[in-house]
């Protein structure tokens, strides 16, 4: 089992357009870099990684564990981050620890507030929102609901002490319109940073909670719908 004492963790998150990298020694953040990603600049992670290592005077060979935010979020960004950590870890089979970016964000929020629960809500595209409830627990937080997909009109039923979102720019107006009276709406964008992902991973490792499956959190099926079984050939003979 992994031990966190003095463990060097390289964490990354690309679930939003704010990509980030962080190096942590146990729960102490040694360095962090962030950037705004776009379709035209998808490779910034690879510019930043050598710079972060140089700034912290560390080498990839010294990293004990790689932590990656699994979303939900941009499928492309998530896949790039997961592929990258798996590539970095492959040669000497270092540990890779996956944690939901939403959980990392919820844990940070609950640590800084008195709320007992946080509903993380995001834009799932295709006219839907995703949501998951997290509750305060000793040393962090835990998921208290499955991943949910909701139509924008059906948000009011999502009860929690607070609502937070990484997509305030896109869905803030929907949340404002539907937030339950007993719920506090955090009216700003919350970003799941690599440092938060690293901290969440560190806490989970310490609590002997296994990594989530190392695949992005896909809230939609892979688009296509199977066709009915093939009919008889058009010509026979």
């Amino acid at each position: 089992m992994l031990k966190t004492h003095d463990m060097l963790i390289l964490a990354m998150d690309q679930s939003t357009d704010c990509g980030s990298l962080a190096l942590l020694q146990d729960e102490h953040v040694l360095g962090e870099m962030s950037w705004t990603d776009s379709r035209c600049h998808r490779q910034q992670l690879f510019d930043r990684l050598p710079a972060l290592l140089e700034r912290t005077s560390l080498a990839l060979s010294q990293v004990d564990c790689f932590a990656v935010g699994l979303g939900p979020g941009s499928y492309t960004g998530l896949r790039m981050a997961v592929a990258t950590v798996m590539g970095l870890a492959l040669p000497d089979r270092r540990s890779v620890y996956g944690v939901s970016s939403a959980e990392a964000m919820a844990a940070a929020f609950l640590a800084e507030s008195v709320a007992v629960s946080a509903m993380v809500i995001g834009d799932a595209r295709r006219h839907q929102l995703w949501a998951r409830l997290f509750t305060r627990q000793e040393g962090g937080c835990a998921a208290a609901s499955p991943w949910m997909l909701r139509e924008p009109e059906a948000l009011a039923e999502l009860q929690a002490s607070a609502w937070i979102t990484p997509d305030w720019d896109r869905i803030g107006f929907l949340l404002k319109a539907q937030v339950p009276s007993a719920c506090r709406l955090i009216e700003e964008r919350r970003i799941p940073t690599a440092a938060l992902v690293g901290l969440a991973a560190c806490r989970r490792i310490r609590a002997a909670i296994p990594s989530e499956p190392l695949t992005p959190i896909y809230l939609h099926p892979a688009v296509a719908v199977p066709r009915p079984p093939a009919s008889a050939p058009a010509a026979a003979g």
């Binding site: 998808r42 490779q43 981050a81 590539g87 970095l88 892979a222 050939p233 010509a235 026979a236 003979g237």
Partner: protein
């Protein structure tokens, strides 16, 4: 020099280790065909999800089969285009990470150039420069073009498809005939014993246009009308079991139209370029009728025909590692800045 190659441009998750550009120590391909079969074609989201799931295991298998350790890998090569953006990014991200971790050079490879190189993949195969100049027919599910190669890195595109790739034409035809996916092998099998002259389908003559020079027009392809012709034929000639025309003859006639279009333009290109060698590369070059007619063409033109080994016709990583192994591709700092280029071309 041992190069680890990675290829994820479409629906094959592939890794290979090649020594000195030609000796394939290992080539592992995880084919996703069964995953895409229910949809009658490649679904990009399914492809990229499965590349991410399977690529690490495929890479480790390649290294194991090559009998090498990570310390014996001298460079990592990866396809950066053309292909499906979300699929290319999985391979590219993995390759960049591996190169950084291993502290070895990263080489970005053009998938089409890698296919042109694929006939050289054998310890006793020809050296690329020695067989140039040549005209290559690049023919697959996603690409169809004619390329003149004057040496590694020196290509000129002579002709291209104005609509569908030949592999797409096979897929669409097979779908209309109820033969399933992938269409190329299905039509190849279904046409056995059929009469290829039973129906005269159009050979995809391209019309002169302002966008294509008169010379290139003769060397360009068009397959969209062929699929429509088959559709109308099947509507006008509903076939009953046991009565002519047989499925085999329709499939053989459809296949013949595609093959004729490819072979005729290759003949024109070889004559025009005055070369002594021609090559056929890509998945469709496995088609048995095409191979038969290419051999006839080579004999009639008195030129040498270069064909890839069957395992290197379909998408694979050996051709990627091989081309990098002879010093081709984008390397150095530029490679680490490479982004996926879904519409990358060759020789333009």
């Amino acid at each position: 020099m041992n190069v680890l190659g990675i290829e994820t441009s479409c629906d094959e998750t592939a890794a290979a280790v090649v020594a000195d550009g030609r000796t394939v120590l290992a080539s592992v391909v995880f084919s996703q065909i069964p995953l895409h079969q229910p949809y009658g074609g490649v679904v990009p989201e399914i492809a990229s999800r499965n590349h991410l799931t399977h690529l690490p295991r495929v890479i480790e298998s390649a290294l194991d089969q090559a009998g090498l350790t990570w310390a014996q890998i001298d460079a990592v090569a990866v396809t950066y285009g053309p292909g499906l953006a979300s699929s290319l990014l999985v391979g590219l991200s993995t390759a960049k990470a591996l190169a950084m971790r291993l502290q070895v050079p990263l080489v970005g490879i053009n998938h089409l150039e890698a296919h042109v190189y694929s006939p050289m993949l054998s310890p006793d195969g020809p050296e690329f420069q020695a067989v140039c100049p040549l005209v290559a027919l690049m023919v697959s599910g996603g690409h169809t073009c004619l390329v003149r190669a004057d040496g590694p890195g020196r290509y000129r595109r002579l002709g291209w498809t104005l609509d569908d790739a030949a592999g797409e034409a096979f897929d669409k035809g097979a779908n209309l005939l109820g033969l399933g996916y992938p269409g190329g092998p299905a039509i190849d099998r279904a046409s056995e014993g059929g009469d290829p002259c039973y129906i005269r389908f159009p050979r995809g003559q391209t019309h002169k246009s302002a966008h294509v020079s008169p010379q290139a027009s003769d060397l360009c392809f068009s397959f969209s009308g062929l699929k429509t012709a088959l559709l109308y034929y099947l509507k006008a000639h509903p076939c009953l079991p046991g009565s002519p025309p047989s499925l085999a003859s329709i499939a053989a006639s459809y296949q013949e139209a595609i093959v004729d279009a490819l072979v005729e333009r290759l003949r024109l290109a070889v004559n025009h370029e005055q070369v002594k060698r021609m090559a056929a590369v890509g998945g469709v070059s496995l088609n048995r009728r095409l191979r038969e007619k290419l051999k006839q063409l080579a004999a009639s033109l008195k030129v040498e025909l270069l064909l890839s080994q069957p395992e290197y016709c379909v998408d694979n990583a050996a051709m990627v590692a091989g081309l990098a192994g002879i010093g081709q591709g984008i390397s150095g700092a530029a490679a680490l800045e490479l982004d996926a280029m879904p519409n990358l071309e060759i020789g333009r």
